[in-house]
């Protein structure tokens, strides 16, 4: 068949597809309800025409036109769109906790990498007043001691802290903590070394600070402050670490897949964890800025709430969406 005949014969189908695509690429509100059901059929026919035009070496202009049309059809037809709030709900209730449970071994590994140094340094700093200087600079130590000194009413615990300060800290926690979570994850691509260092470093610092301040006797200011949000924050750090270690696992033990393929599969799962960790960190930032910092609440109440929060985090991660993993 000559090109001209070919064009005349099929032009109507191409135009129909073009109109359908124009319609479908508009936002749903502005569609005029014309016949969109024919998309798959029209698209398949244009695909067939494209293959013919290529095979018969029709002119480049014609092949390009059909190619672009097929490309548009392809991206509209295979676009994955669903109700976003439904997906958010599924994500929170099913995808995130079940993905975490599927990678439970790495999660426990990350937890150990974080808590063991924390406990070790905490113990050391509790027993030896000067040990903290091996991991932090004197300046940092002084700053930290000043912050939690019951003798002054600085940031964190003052009775009449302004709401605007709360907001400042809320912003700071989001910017800083979630950023740390993301970096912990991303640096896992260096065969896990980055994640490993991030976990150890955070564990060491947090453990040292806790041990040192307890030893100094700042129990009444430090522990009520950190107890509330710790449930979300520390768990989220471990989960970010898990996600980073998943990247490392894909690169180190790809199994029967190529490394690239393993990385793609693992990264898709890991990013679910990191999104969940970001959500946890968001909650943590909220609690830290508006609840933990509230100096008017009695420590007993804070500890009670903290226990409740820890319990809910543990229950959520271990039970939510159980049995629906495949859903």
């Amino acid at each position: 068949m000559k090109q001209q005949q070919f064009i005349e014969h099929h032009r109507s189908v191409w135009e129909a597809l073009r109109q359908t695509l124009d319609e479908l690429e508009k936002p749903p509100r502005r569609r005029d309800g014309s016949d969109l059901e024919r998309l798959p059929e029209l698209y398949r026919r244009v695909c067939a025409d494209l293959a013919l035009a290529k095979e018969r070496r029709y002119s480049s202009g014609l092949v390009d036109e059909l190619h672009d049309l097929a490309m548009r059809g392809h991206s509209v037809l295979y676009r994955r769109k669903s109700l976003w709030w439904w997906r958010v709900a599924i994500f929170i209730w099913v995808v995130f906790p079940s993905t975490l449970r599927k990678n439970a071994r790495l999660f426990w590994l990350a937890t150990a990498l974080f808590y063991l140094p924390a406990l070790a340094l905490g113990g050391l700093c509790y027993h030896n007043n000067d040990f903290i200087y091996t991991v932090m600079s004197p300046h940092q130590v002084a700053q930290m001691e000043y912050m939690y000194d019951p003798g002054n009413s600085k940031l964190g615990r003052s009775e009449a802290r302004e709401s605007s300060t709360d907001f400042e800290m809320f912003g700071y926690y989001i910017w800083n903590n979630i950023g740390i979570g993301f970096r912990t994850f991303a640096s896992g691509i260096f065969f896990g070394i980055g994640t490993l260092l991030a976990l150890l470093f955070n564990g060491v610092t947090i453990g040292a600070v806790a041990g040192h301040l307890t030893e100094l006797g700042f129990v009444g200011t430090f522990w009520p402050f950190v107890a509330g949000h710790s449930a979300f924050e520390l768990t989220a750090i471990c989960i970010s670490g898990t996600a980073g270690l998943m990247l490392a696992r894909a690169l180190l033990v790809p199994g029967r897949r190529t490394r690239g393929e393993a990385l793609r599969v693992e990264a898709a799962a890991a990013v679910q964890l990191i999104m969940g960790a970001a959500l946890l960190l968001l909650v943590a930032a909220f609690i830290e800025a508006f609840w933990s910092a509230d100096g008017a609440v009695r420590p007993v109440l804070k500890f009670a709430v903290a226990a409740l929060l820890w319990l809910s985090v543990v229950l959520y991660l271990s039970l939510a969406g159980r049995g629906r993993d495949a859903a």
Partner: protein
């Protein structure tokens, strides 16, 4: 040149894609290009170090300034390689004068900072144009696109990034005790080690980027020629030309013979028809070497004279059109009391939002609980009423299945009998043994389901039955009455017996 040996697809594309094609080409032949770069760069480096070793900063600057010196060789090699010809070292060494010298002084002085260096390099090296002709030519090639300049600018940045990246990497990796006490003291005469290091890394970065830069410019040049002159069509045209001309010449010869009966003229024509091959080969070589025949030259002139080339020009520039009215309220707002109030309100709003989010989540949890299990059990397997177009309901069966089958066999309707037997089996499986067969299942899938959930002999029977049925339904191979009787007996054993119990 053989068209089939053209190693890159020079087609009509945008200027940006032209640059990208160059990067692909450079990746393909990175090692030889890289080596070639060092071939000219290494002597210069040694010379610069020898002469200027007192001030390492100047060495770096000199090496950078001399970049136009290292690039022509790469282009020379690449322009041959792209058409399937690999130059030997001997050929390269023999040609260095003609490759390196054209416009070298200009490129090293006034035009060193010209943005389109790698795009214009082929004009002087491959087309061998000078003076006004060259200026016209580069105006046409360089006009209407900005990819050439951006290639140069971005390329320079890439070098910086690589150089700096390598340096930083080294500093990261060095144990902190080994670092000099003040590594940033760059100008200190006693500790220029860091500058030497930086120079080295920079040179390395330059050598890595240079192949990409030269190939990018060359591919952009080819792309521009495709855009402006349909150069990509010229290649196949040249390839076809001898055949076209020969055919037409042969036609002319026939005419001549017919009209005049002059034989010698035909010989002359035939001889002439050979020449285009030679000519095409030469002009094809022109594409790579750039030596134009007089004819091509004049044609180029003709093209260049055309107003469509190099006349239209749109220039964008920023012009100061005077300041807009200056904002009056220059005074800085001080934190007023209302801010605290706003913050307070926002805080409560956030609490409310958090409460809403929690409530919403709980609502969905409730919904999910209601949804998911149902989806699992009821949606996954609704009881089918038809399978492969056969009605599968208890109502569609006669009360006495075995009797009905016998009657059908007696009447010679073997197909109907087998169909009834098959349907009856499926109905029993689904309704008495609660086998969940989805409506979409095929015969094979039914077989697999039965095998996984029913006893060994029963599934063996079902396999036989299925086989008989599919052969009958799709293969039109009729079962024998004896066969049906056998199957019916088995059926009664499995399903009628089960019911009586």
């Amino acid at each position: 040149m053989q068209l089939e040996q053209m190693a890159a697809n020079v087609r009509y594309r945008t200027s940006w894609e032209g640059v990208d094609l160059g990067f692909v080409i450079a990746r393909q032949w990175f090692m030889p290009l890289w080596g070639l770069w060092w071939l000219t760069a290494l002597p210069i480096t040694l010379l610069a170090v020898l002469l200027l070793h007192r001030s390492p900063l100047l060495v770096g600057l000199a090496l950078w300034w001399c970049k136009p010196l290292y690039e022509p060789m790469l282009l020379f090699w690449l322009s041959r390689r792209l058409f399937g010809e690999t130059l030997s070292w001997r050929e390269l060494a023999g040609q260095w004068r003609t490759v390196l010298l054209p416009r070298l002084l200009a490129n090293l002085s006034l035009w060193r900072l010209g943005g389109n260096r790698s795009l214009f390099l082929p004009v002087s090296q491959l087309e061998r144009l000078h003076g006004a002709q060259r200026r016209k030519r580069i105006k046409v090639l360089g006009g209407g696109q900005s990819a050439g300049i951006w290639l140069t600018l971005v390329g320079a940045n890439f070098e910086m990034i690589f150089g700096l990246g390598l340096l930083l990497l080294l500093l990261y990796l060095l144990p902190s005790q080994l670092l000099p006490e003040h590594p940033w003291l760059i100008s200190g005469g006693d500790r220029p080690l860091l500058i030497w290091l930086a120079n080295g890394f920079w040179l390395l970065a330059m050598s890595v980027i240079a192949p990409f830069y030269v190939a990018g410019g060359f591919a952009l040049y080819l792309t521009r020629r495709s855009q402006l002159e349909a150069w990509d069509l010229e290649l196949p045209f040249r390839h076809m030309a001898p055949r076209f001309r020969a055919a037409r010449a042969a036609a002319l010869v026939c005419c001549a013979l017919l009209f005049m009966g002059l034989v010698p003229c035909g010989g002359a024509r035939a001889a002439e028809s050979g020449t285009p091959t030679v000519q095409a080969a030469r002009s094809a070589a022109d594409v790579t070497t750039g030596i134009g025949t007089e004819q091509v030259r004049s044609a180029i002139k003709q093209v260049l004279a055309d107003p469509a080339f190099g006349k239209e020009k749109t220039e964008h520039y920023w012009k100061y059109i005077g300041a807009k009215r200056k904002p009056d309220e220059k005074k800085r707002l001080e934190p007023f009391a209302w801010i605290a109030a706003v913050a307070e309100v926002l805080k409560y709003l956030l609490w409310v939002a958090a409460a809403f989010a929690l409530g919403w989540l709980l609502m969905y949890v409730a919904q999910l609980r209601a949804w998911l299990p149902r989806r699992r059990t009821t949606r996954a397997a609704p009881i089918a009423t038809t399978l492969f177009g056969l009605p599968i309901t208890p109502e569609s069966l006669p009360d006495d299945v075995v009797g009905a089958i016998h009657a059908l066999v007696e009447a010679g309707q073997l197909r109907a009998a087998l169909s009834l037997l098959y349907r009856a089996t499926l109905v029993r499986l689904m309704h008495d043994y609660h086998l969940r067969i989805p409506e979409s299942a095929t015969e094979g899938e039914c077989q697999r389901l039965v095998r996984s959930q029913r006893s060994e002999p029963e599934s063996a029977f079902f396999s036989q039955l299925t086989q008989a049925w599919t052969r009958c339904a799709y293969g039109h191979v009729m079962p024998t009455p004896a066969n049906i009787a056998l199957l019916t007996d088995s059926w009664r054993r499995y399903y009628e017996g089960g019911r009586d119990d």
